[in-house]
């Protein structure tokens, strides 16, 4: 029954989107993190999505191909009173752009909802198929 693989397809997408939401959450949580004495601040992370075959020839799910750190420069903020400030009075913050992350979050949550709806519809159709002849 080919419709059963819809649960695998949408399930893989839901799992990928929830991981994306996790990454967004950790990016936002560390948006204002200040680098320690080593000068290595938090770098924003992004997931790489990849299409993957789900066994049958017309079923394609999603999988996480990897996590990539952003190469953007870390933010330098002038704050001489901060304990981690360097000799010029600058502290190093993460390179996360909160606006980008919020947009990413909305996109992930919408995609998640879409896939839940797909699963619900597939479930309804399968249940109705089971009732043939009754």
């Amino acid at each position: 029954m080919s419709m059963f693989s819809i649960f695998n397809i949408s399930g893989s997408a839901i799992s990928a989107q929830s991981q994306r939401l996790n990454v967004v959450a950790s990016n936002l949580a560390n948006a204002d993190a200040v680098a320690g004495p080593d000068g290595k601040g938090y770098k924003g992370r992004q997931l790489l999505f990849e299409t993957t075959a789900m066994g049958e020839d017309t079923a394609f799910g999603v999988r996480i191909a990897g996590v990539k750190e952003s190469n953007e420069a870390l933010r330098k903020v002038h704050n001489p009173s901060h304990p981690s400030a360097d000799n010029d009075g600058y502290i190093t913050q993460s390179n996360v752009n909160p606006v980008e992350e919020m947009v990413n979050m909305i996109s992930a949550s919408r995609s998640y909802q879409n896939n839940v709806e797909v699963m619900n519809t597939a479930k309804t159709l399968l249940l109705k198929t089971l009732q043939i002849g009754q």
Binding site: M1, S2, M3, S5, I6, I9, S10, S12, A13, A16, Q17, R20, L48, F49, E50, T51, E56, D57, T58, A59, F60, G61, V62, S107, A108, S111, N114, N115, V118, T121, A122, T124, L125, K128, T129, Q131, I132, G133
Partner: protein, 150 residues
């Protein structure tokens, strides 16, 4: 004798299988709405149904999610489409019966899924699936009442 009773169900059974295949293809598109480089696929119900009924005599063409079926030129349903090669036998609505959806708004990451279009396709296909189910239910009820003679 029994074949006469059930043969009328065959057409709708084929339609139901193709609808479920198409549902899966659209689900794949929605699942990959955020995957870079993913090309949206679609299954032309009309073509798949015709080939299921004539056991693949007619060459299948690529089709689009919003394209109309024009006159058949070199095995495709539209001049702008590329002809599919290879065997068209096998399961109803297999991989070689899939076409690529035309891009409405090209994106930089190479993803050609139009989410609004896909959602509309999904709902449309779900309704058609239920319609086919009702036809099958009605026919099976007819057969049952013929058997019972009540």
């Amino acid at each position: 004798m029994f074949a006469n009773l059930t043969s009328s169900l065959e057409f709708n059974a084929k339609a139901l299988i193709i609808r479920s295949e198409r549902q899966r293809v659209i689900a794949s598109n929605i699942a990959n709405a955020d995957t870079p480089g993913y090309a949206a696929r679609n299954l032309d119900f009309k073509e798949a149904m015709a080939s299921a009924n004539h056991s693949g005599q007619r060459p299948l063409g690529l089709q689009t999610s919003q394209g109309t079926l024009g006159s058949s030129t070199s095995g495709t349903s539209n001049i702008r489409h590329m002809a599919l090669s290879g065997n068209t036998e096998g399961r109803l609505g297999g991989q070689n019966k899939l076409g690529y959806a035309l891009q409405t708004q090209p994106s930089l990451d190479g993803n050609s899924v139009d989410l609004d279009q896909e959602r509309a396709n999904f709902v449309d296909n779900a309704v058609h699936y239920e319609t086919t189910l009702r036809f099958i239910n009605g026919q099976s009820k007819t057969i049952l009442s013929a058997i019972q003679g009540q």
